[in-house]
C-alpha cells in the first residue's frame, strides 16, 4: 500500500481498513536518505549478523538497512566474498557501544549518548554537574566510525553534537580530570582520523587555547612527541612572545 501524500508505505491495518497512523516514507532526517528504500524492503530483506569487537559479540541488523547507508557498507554486505556468501560480518576493531549507537541512529535518525537516568535529572542541571567527557568521547568514536565507512550524515551529526557539548565545558587549572580527558580525546582523534580532518584542526586550536595548562602535563607532552602532525597543527595556532627576545644579561654589551 502506498501513502496518498508521499507515495511511501503505510503501516496500518490492511484487513480492517482503519486509517493508518504512520506514513513510513523516510524523511530528510532519516538515515535512509541516500537510497530511500522503504521499511517493507528492510523487513523482508533479511538480516545480516555482525560479530563486533575482539569478543565477537553477535548482533543482528536488517541487511538492506545497512546496505542503504553508504556504498562502503553496501559493499561489506553485498559482495562476492565471504560476507556476501555467509551473511556474516566480523568487525573486530569496532566497539559494542559504538555499534549500538550506530544502529540506533540507523533506525531512528538520531542517537543518545547519555544514559537515560542522567537525562531524567535534567530538571536540575546545576545541582548535578555531569562529567561531559564520556559523552564527547562517544561522539568522537561515532565520528571516526562514520569516517571509516563514509557516512557523511552521521559524521555531521556526531560532529555537531561534539561541538554543542564541548562548548560549555571549562578546562580550568583546578580540574585535572578535564585536562587528562582532553588529552585522551586528542589522542584518540589523532589515532583514528586522517590528519586533514577538521575535528583534528579544531582540537589543535582548542589545545592551543589551553596550552598553558596542557604543557605542564606529562601525558600531553607524550602525545605531542608521538603525533608530529598534531604538533604541526598546534604550532600553527601558537603565538610566540610579543617582544623580540633579548639576549641574557651576561651577553649584553
Amino acid at each position: 500500500m502506498e501513502c496518498e501524500d508521499c507515495g511511501g508505505l503505510y503501516i496500518g491495518c490492511e484487513s480492517c481498513g482503519s486509517p493508518p497512523l504512520v506514513c513510513s516514507k523516510p524523511t530528510a532526517n532519516s538515515p535512509t536518505i541516500k537510497h530511500s528504500p522503504v521499511y517493507k524492503d528492510f523487513l523482508f530483506g533479511g538480516n545480516v549478523t555482525l560479530y563486533v569487537g575482539p569478543k565477537r559479540k553477535r548482533m543482528e541488523i536488517h541487511k538492506k538497512l545497512l546496505a542503504s547507508i553508504s556504498s562502503e557498507l553496501d559493499k561489506h554486505v553485498n559482495n562476492d566474498m565471504r560476507e556476501g556468501i555467509e551473511g556474516k560480518i566480523y568487525l573486530p576493531d569496532e566497539g559494542e557501544e559504538v555499534l549500538t549507537l550506530f544502529t540506533e541512529w540507523a533506525y531512528t535518525g538520531d542517537y543518545a549518548s547519555k544514559d537515560d537516568a542522567l537525562r531524567a535529572d535534567r530538571g536540575n542541571p546545576k545541582k548535578l554537574k555531569q562529567d561531559p567527557w564520556p559523552s564527547l568521547h562517544k561522539h568522537l568514536q561515532l565520528y571516526a566510525f562514520a569516517e571509516k565507512f563514509n557516512v557523511p550524515i552521521l559524521k555531521r551529526l556526531a560532529e555537531s553534537k561534539f561541538h554543542i557539548e564541548i562548548g560549555p565545558v571549562s578546562v580550568e587549572s583546578n580540574c585535572s580530570r578535564n585536562v587528562s580527558s582532553l588529552v585522551k580525546a586528542i589522542g584518540y582523534a589523532c589515532d583514528n582520523l586522517p590528519s586533514s580532518d577538521p575535528v583534528l584542526k579544531f582540537l589543535a586550536q582548542y589545545a592551543a587555547w589551553r596550552l598553558e595548562l596542557l604543557r605542564e602535563t606529562a601525558s600531553f607532552n607524550d602525545l605531542v612527541s608521538s603525533q608530529p602532525d598534531f604538533l604541526k597543527e598546534l604550532l600553527m595556532n601558537v603565538r610566540g612572545p610579543k617582544a623580540k627576545p633579548k639576549a641574557p644579561r651576561k651577553h649584553r654589551p
Binding site: P54, S71, E72, K75, H76, N79, D80, M81, R82, E83, G84, I85, I89, Y90, L91, P92, D93, E94, G95, K148, N150, V183, K184, G187, Y188, C190, D191, N192, L193, P194, S195, S196, S219, D222, L223, S226, Q227
Partner: protein, 804 residues
C-alpha cells in the same frame, strides 16, 4: 609476530600511537589482490581487506600502498601481454601485406580471434579492477582525494593502456587498430563480421585515456584509432566515388551514396563509437557527394535534367538531401534546376511566339497602304487566334509552375531558398517574353467573361490566385495595368463580365499585392458604372415628367466614363464621326442638355464605337429584337427608310453614316456575312466585305429566336500588331511622364542631389511598377533641364539643383 599482532588488533586509546607495520599489512593485502586475480575472492573477507587498507591509509602509508598496488597490477598486466595476447597477434595484418597473401576468410578468423582475446583480457581487467577498487575504497576517498591523484581504478586503466596497448615490444594497440579497420573494410565490401567483438574492443578504447585526467577528448579511441580509421575511410571512399561515377547512372549513384551514409551511421552506432559519426559522415559527404555531385547531376540521360523532366520525385529528393549535407545553400542544385526551368519557360515562349509571328507577317503582307477589308478581318482572326495562344501560354506556364511546385513540395522539403530561386527563374523567363502582361490580362479576361460560369467560389478564387501568381512575376506592372484596364473596360461596357463579385475579388487581390495606386483607376471604373446607372434612371424619370421632350420610341441608357480612368482614347467627336438618325440625335441632345445642366463645366464626348442598341424589326411578319452595336443600329436605320428591294452600296452607307471605314467593314461583316445573323444581304456573296459591295435588307431572314444578338467580331482579344505598337508607344509616353513626375518630386524635396543618387531614387520609386530604362531616365533629366525645372550645380558636373 604474535606479539605484534596482539599489539595491533585491539583498538587502543592510549597516548602512544598504534604502530602499524606496513609490510605485514601489505603482505595480507597483496595476497588478497592476487586471489582476486585468480578468481578466488569468495573465501576472502571484504572487511579484512578493507580494514587493512584503511589502517594503512590512516597511518599515513597511503602512498606506499598506492604505489604497491600499481606495481602489482602492472606486473600482472605484463604477464598477460606476453602470455595471453602476444600469441594471437595477427602479424600479417599489421605488417600490411593483407591484400595478396591472406584470403579474406583467414584474415577474418585471425582478426576475430585476436579481438576476442583482447576483449577477454580487457573485461577481466575491468572486473578485477572493479573488485580492487571496492576493497581500496578508503584509499581512494581519503588518500587520493587529499593528494589530488587519480583514483586507483583510473591509474590501473592507464596501466592497461601502457602495458597492453602500448607494449614496447609487441605494439598491440597498432595491431588492434589495423584489425578493426580491416574488419570494417570487409564489412563495407559486403562480408559479415562479428560486430559485438569489435564493439567490445571499441568500448575498451573509449574507456582508456591518454592521461589520468581522463579528458573527454583524450580518449585513446580518439587519439589513436579514429585518426587511422578516418584516413583509411578517405582512401576507400575516394576510390569508391571514382568507380561509382564510372559505372552507375545518376539515380543509382545517389542510392548507393544514401546507402553508404546509412551504413556508416549504423556502423557508428552498432560497431564503432557515436563519437565518430560526424567525422565519418564528413568523409562520405566529401568524397561521395561534394566531389562528384555536380558530375552526377550533369549525367547525360539520367542526371538532374532527366529527373526534373520526368518528375522523379524520389531521386530528386535524394539529390536535395545529399546536397543539403554538403551545402546548406544548395547552390549547385538551385543553379542547375533554375537553368532547366528557364530553358523550359523560354521554350514555351518560343513555341507560342513562332506561329504568331508567321501569321502576323502574313497579315502584314496583304498590303497596308489602303487597308482592305480582307486585311482588317484577317487581322481580327489572327488576333482571335492569339487570344487562344495567350490562354495556352498562361496554361502552359501555370502547368510548368505546378510541375516545379510539386517537385518543390515533394522533393525539396519546401526549401525557402529554392523557392526564391524558382521565383527568380520564373521572373526571368516571363519577363523575357514581352507579351506576358497582355497574355496574363487576357487570361483573366477570358475567365471573367466565360470561364467562371458554374464554378464555386473557391474554384473562382483558385483561378484568380493562379493569375495573381503570374502577375507577381511581372516587372512591368504598368504595362499589365494598361491591358487590364482596356480589357476591364470592354467587359464593363459590353456587360460581358460574368460576376461583379469576381471582378471585385480580383481587384482586391491586386490591391493586396501592389496597393491602391495600382487599382485606383479600376475602382474608378466601377464607380462610373454605378453612377451611370443612377443617372440613366434619373434621366428617364425626368424625361417622363416633362413629357414634351421625351420620345417614346427611344430609350436611352448612358454610361458616363471619366476619361482619365478609362482607356477610351483621345475622344472628341471627330475621332469617332457618326451621323445619327434624327430620333437618336434628339435623345442624345436631350441627355446632353440634362447632364450639362447638372454638371457645368464638363464635356461629354459620345462614343458610338462603344455603345450598343436594341432595335425591333419585323421579318416575314415575325417580330424580332436585334441587339447590335450603335454603329450597327445606325447602319440598319439607314435601311429602314428604303423601299423593299432597294440597295445601298458601301460607299452610300459610308456617306449617310460617316462611320469610319474600318468600323463600317467590321459592322457590315456582322450584319451581312455572319451566317446566323444575316439581316442584310450582300452582293456579291463572299466571306469578306469589300468597298465595292452592295447591301440590301434580307427579307428572307428568319430565326427561331425572338431576341437576336448580333455581335461584332471579337470583344476582347489579343492585340493586333498595329495596336501593340500603339500600346508600346503609350506605355513609353506614360513611363516618361511617370519618371518625370518622380524626378520633379525628388528634386523638389532634395533641392541638390548627385546624379547617381537621383537615378537610384527614381529606380526604387518606380520599382513596384516597372523597371525604368536608364537611358530614358537620363533623357527625362535632360528634358527637365531644357525646360528649366532643374540645372547642373555650378562647378560640380554630377550634381543637379532644383529651380524654384
Amino acid at each position: 609476530m604474535n606479539r605484534s599482532r596482539g599489539k595491533i588488533r585491539p583498538p587502543r586509546r592510549g597516548l602512544a600511537t598504534d604502530h602499524v607495520d606496513f609490510d605485514e599489512y601489505w603482505e595480507v593485502l597483496a595476497q588478497s589482490l592476487r586471489e582476486i586475480y585468480a578468481k578466488n575472492a569468495s573465501h576472502l573477507s571484504f572487511e579484512e581487506v578493507y580494514r587493512n587498507a584503511y589502517k594503512l591509509v590512516l597511518k599515513k602509508h597511503g602512498d606506499r600502498l598506492y604505489g604497491n598496488v600499481k606495481k602489482l597490477v602492472g606486473e600482472h598486466l605484463q604477464t598477460v601481454a606476453v602470455e595471453d595476447v602476444k600469441p594471437l597477434l595477427p602479424s600479417s595484418i599489421v605488417t600490411g601485406d593483407v591484400s595478396f597473401g591472406t584470403a579474406t576468410t583467414e584474415r577474418r578468423t585471425v582478426g576475430t580471434k585476436f579481438l576476442e582475446r583482447l576483449k577477454f583480457v580487457w573485461e577481466d581487467h575491468q572486473l578485477c579492477m572493479g573488485m580492487m577498487k571496492e576493497v581500496l575504497m578508503y584509499m581512494d576517498r581519503v588518500f587520493c582525494a587529499d593528494h589530488k591523484i587519480p583514483s586507483i581504478y583510473v591509474a590501473c586503466m592507464g596501466l592497461f593502456r601502457d602495458h597492453i596497448l602500448r607494449h614496447p615490444e609487441y605494439n598491440i594497440g597498432n595491431a588492434l587498430n589495423s584489425v578493426i579497420i580491416d574488419q570494417v573494410r570487409m564489412e563495407r565490401d559486403g562480408d559479415i563480421i562479428n560486430r559485438a567483438t569489435i564493439r567490445a574492443c571499441v568500448y575498451m578504447l573509449e574507456g582508456l585515456y591518454e592521461t589520468e585526467e581522463e579528458h573527454e577528448n583524450q580518449k585513446v579511441y580518439l587519439t589513436s584509432f579514429e585518426k587511422n580509421f578516418i584516413s583509411a575511410s578517405e582512401v576507400f571512399y575516394q576510390k569508391e566515388g571514382e568507380q561509382l561515377l564510372r559505372d552507375c547512372d545518376a539515380a543509382t549513384y545517389l542510392r548507393k551514396v544514401d546507402k553508404r551514409l546509412k551504413e556508416e551511421y549504423s556502423r557508428c552506432h552498432d560497431t564503432l563509437s557515436v563519437l565518430t559519426e560526424p567525422k565519418i559522415m564528413r568523409v562520405v559527404d566529401q568524397k561521395l557527394i561534394e566531389a562528384n555531385i555536380n558530375d552526377v547531376m550533369e549525367m547525360e540521360g539520367s542526371g538532374l535534367r532527366f529527373m526534373l523532366d520526368n518528375d522523379r520525385y524520389e531521386d530528386l529528393k535524394l539529390v536535395y538531401e545529399l546536397i543539403s549535407r554538403v551545402d546548406s545553400e544548395k547552390r549547385s542544385l538551385k543553379k542547375k534546376m533554375c537553368a532547366r526551368l528557364v530553358t523550359m519557360g523560354k521554350e514555351i515562349n518560343r513555341t507560342i511566339s513562332t506561329p504568331q509571328a508567321s501569321t502576323a507577317s502574313g497579315a502584314d503582307g496583304t498590303g497596308d497602304s489602303s487597308k482592305s477589308s480582307a486585311a482588317v478581318v484577317s487581322e481580327e482572326r489572327v488576333a482571335n487566334n492569339i487570344t487562344l495562344v495567350a490562354i495556352r501560354w498562361v496554361d502552359e506556364v501555370l502547368a510548368l509552375k505546378d510541375k516545379y511546385e510539386n517537385i518543390w513540395e515533394r522533393s525539396f522539403d519546401k526549401d525557402k531558398g529554392i523557392q526564391a530561386a524558382m521565383t527568380r527563374a520564373f521572373t526571368d523567363f516571363i519577363n523575357d517574353f514581352d507579351r506576358s502582361p497582355e497574355f496574363i490580362s487576357l487570361f483573366i479576361d477570358e475567365n471573367l467573361r466565360k470561364g467562371l460560369k458554374g464554378k464555386t467560389e473557391s474554384e473562382v478564387d483558385a483561378v484568380l490566385d493562379k493569375a495573381l501568381t503570374l502577375f507577381r512575376y511581372i516587372t512591368d506592372k504598368d504595362v499589365f495595368e494598361r491591358y487590364y484596364k482596356k480589357h476591364l473596360s470592354r467587359r464593363l461596357l459590353m456587360n460581358r463580365s460574368v460576376s461583379h463579385d469576381a471582378e471585385k475579388q480580383m481587384i482586391g487581390k491586386f490591391k493586396m499585392e501592389v496597393g491602391f495606386a495600382f487599382t485606383g483607376k479600376f475602382e474608378g471604373m466601377f464607380k462610373d458604372m454605378n453612377i451611370s446607372e443612377e443617372m440613366t434612371s434619373e434621366f428617364k424619370r425626368a424625361s417622363q415628367e416633362s413629357d414634351s421632350n421625351y420620345k417614346k420610341g427611344v430609350e436611352l441608357s448612358v454610361q458616363i466614363l471619366t476619361s482619365t480612368f478609362w482607356p477610351v482614347g483621345g475622344g472628341g467627336t471627330n475621332d469617332h464621326p457618326c451621323v445619327y438618325p434624327p430620333e437618336i440625335r434628339a435623345a442624345r441632345d436631350s441627355f446632353t442638355k440634362y447632364y450639362l445642366d447638372r454638371h457645368s463645366g464638363r464635356r461629354l464626348d459620345w462614343r458610338p464605337d462603344m455603345g450598343t442598341a436594341d432595335i425591333r424589326a419585323t421579318f416575314k411578319g415575325k417580330r424580332h429584337e436585334l441587339s447590335v452595336t450603335t454603329y450597327g443600329m445606325v447602319i440598319l436605320m439607314a435601311f429602314s427608310e428604303l423601299n423593299p428591294g432597294d440597295v445601298l452600296s458601301f460607299e452610300e452607307i459610308h456617306t449617310i453614316t460617316s462611320i469610319p471605314e474600318q468600323d463600317l467593314v467590321r459592322n457590315l461583316q456582322a450584319l451581312a456575312v455572319a451566317p446566323k445573323t444575316r439581316v442584310l444581304i450582300k452582293k456579291p456573296m463572299s466571306r469578306d466585305v469589300r468597298l465595292t459591295d452592295v447591301f440590301a435588307i434580307n427579307e428572307e431572314f428568319s430565326s427561331k429566336f425572338m431576341r437576336i444578338r448580333i455581335g461584332v467580331v471579337a470583344t476582347n482579344r489579343a492585340e493586333t500588331e498595329q495596336e501593340r505598337k500603339d500600346t508600346d508607344e503609350k506605355t513609353e509616353r506614360y513611363r516618361g511622364a511617370t519618371i518625370e513626375a518622380a524626378l520633379v518630386r525628388i528634386m523638389k524635396q532634395r533641392k541638390l542631389i548627385s546624379h547617381t543618387e537621383l537615378v537610384n531614387e527614381v529606380l526604387t520609386q518606380m520599382g513596384s511598377r516597372f523597371n525604368p530604362d536608364l537611358t530614358m531616365v537620363k533623357k527625362r533629366i535632360e528634358s527637365l533641364m531644357e525646360r528649366e525645372y532643374m540645372e547642373r550645380a555650378e562647378g560640380e558636373r554630377q550634381v543637379y539643383r532644383y529651380i524654384y
